[in-house]
Symmetry: C2
Subunit: 339 residues, 2 copies
């Protein structure tokens, strides 16, 4: 009973603080939420909550503000995930559905997510690992430079430029292409390694230097991981807080410019609900101590492939944002299945 009210007070504090961005006092709490007790009682509860570390005072004689631990408790126990309205869901689906290719899906997703959450959005490219080589094209750009284009059966495309030691004629290139293609076409990329191991040796001696250069590039391109790309959008939302809040935007912007950091933010294990929330200091990244990161995994078929999410101030609307992130992840999965 007593415990119950204490948690209700914590919830009320988080909700009020998120909506007003001002420390909330006992009197205001009683007025806004019908708690059925007097401010003095609330004050006692607040003191207890403060002892336990869920809330804090910016200074004596000010209201209370949730701590990271307070938000954590709120997210874990007190709030659900607010589902989106069907109208919103339909809008999302239509917006994402009209994408023409993978790049387009990613770009649209990041914009969409930023727009509906009004936060900075992150989207990681899907990992498309178990692919097989569909086609290899060798294009001579100049006498001594060759471009290799690699097409996988998933539609993923990689291109590389190869510098040759001497001039290469078209006929030799066509020959090599045919040989290479017959050697690797249809093989899962994981096996290509073995398949081409002695490819160069099997070629006529005059082609060998070029052949081995091409094989090296091929292997490099095969192991290139598209899912190490993360795009971001909605950075302008950061500036909304700018003036007033303990959210210095420069370190945040700086952190968000590092791909490595973005990957780290997205790359953590999933929680059971499907949405991961990382609050303030829980964040593994320097510069993001006063932000929270909400991520969800998306999948293709029934395999998890990558993550997407948003970054915002710790005093954000958790239920709403979690709902949005969850819904968008769901829809991206659906779109990818269709493609």
């Amino acid at each position: 009973m007593l415990e119950d009210r204490r948690l209700a007070v914590l919830r009320a504090i988080v909700e009020d603080y998120v909506s007003t961005h001002e420390p909330v006092g006992s009197k205001a709490l009683v007025e806004r939420h019908s708690l059925g007790v007097s401010p003095a009682t609330i004050r006692n509860d607040m003191a207890a909550l403060e002892d336990e570390g869920y809330i804090a005072q910016p200074h004596t004689s000010a209201g209370r503000v949730p701590t990271d631990l307070g938000y954590r408790h709120f997210v874990d126990r007190l709030s659900g995930v607010k589902p989106l309205s069907t109208a919103e869901r339909r809008a999302i689906h239509e917006f994402l559905g009209s994408a023409v290719d993978l790049d387009d899906v990613m770009i649209r997703t990041v914009r969409l997510l930023a727009q509906i959450t009004r936060q900075v959005a992150l989207v990681q490219y899907p990992s498309l690992t178990e692919s097989t080589v569909r086609h290899i094209e060798l294009i001579s750009l100049s006498p001594t430079r060759v471009m290799m284009v690699l097409i996988a059966n998933t539609g993923r495309v990689e291109q590389r430029v190869i510098e040759c030691s001497g001039p290469v004629d078209e006929a030799a290139l066509a020959d090599l292409r045919a040989r290479l293609l017959s050697a690797v076409a249809g093989h899962p990329s994981a096996q290509v390694d073995d398949t081409v191991a002695d490819f160069a040796e099997s070629c006529p001696s005059e082609l060998r230097p070029l052949a081995s250069a091409i094989v090296a590039t091929l292997l490099d391109a095969m192991t290139e991981r598209i899912d190490e790309r993360v795009i971001l959008g909605g950075t302008a939302h950061l500036a909304r807080y700018g003036e007033a809040f303990p959210l210095a935007i420069q370190p945040v912007l700086e952190a968000l410019e590092e791909q490595v950091v973005l990957l780290r933010l997205l790359g953590e294990e999933t929680m059971s609900t499907g949405v991961t929330v990382r609050i303030g200091h829980e964040n593994p990244v320097e510069g993001l101590e006063s932000t929270s990161v909400i991520t969800a995994r998306y999948s293709r078929g029934n395999k998890t492939v990558a993550s997407l999410g948003v970054v915002g101030p710790t005093h954000m609307d958790y239920p709403g944002t979690m709902g949005a992130v969850h819904a968008v992840a769901q829809y991206v999965s659906r779109i990818l299945d269709e493609q």
Copy 2:
């Protein structure tokens, strides 16, 4: 004589203001620059410069600040382009030289530019127009979905997913691919339009619906312009001013999120020097009234292909930034020639 000193005063004001970011007064000017006259004389000159609109007072009894017109005069008449040191140039060349593909060149360029100018950097993808079709690949992703990959001789790659009305078998796809390839391979993209006009009719009737869908997608992909992509970096530099200056960063960040806006910033005609400077209100974009944009074109072979540049506060180091933008554009051109 008198005119000369007046211009010297303007130059001194711009230089001081750029370095201190504070209104500059007559006394400080005389002390910092050896102008050989008394503060009173400078005051007269300042009054004249103010009448002509080159400088302004934030309020009575404050020093002077350059106006947009003042900066314009400074850039046009008073400052040169500061060349980079050879060490810097070599560093640039090495950094850009180790890029593996076009995407990589672009990403490295935008980072480099942001880093050396300490401003927000923009880089437009090069337009690779007069290309010919090198290869077309059709990949069946599912019974009713086909992915088309288009490779041009420049190495540009486009991919599209095509939804088919009915199931498509591999043999038909291979047949179509061969027909299509022989119809368009080697033709300049500008002529593909005509070449494939009656392609669908020339196919066996059972393939026609698919053939025409593919042709439509092909034409769409051919006309897709890669040079409508602009990437940006270094947004964190915006926050450096944040607090103190009449540079509200939110509208700037918002503007910079719109591809259309970025294109407009980069898309204007070149000036003879090769570096274009657009100061404050000269900018064609809402939200960027208190920023200056410095751009330069880069080329491949001897054809101009696209632009790159930086966006910063009007009180920026023009000679240095112009030098950096110029040098980077030069080196990107060189790298592209090599590729």
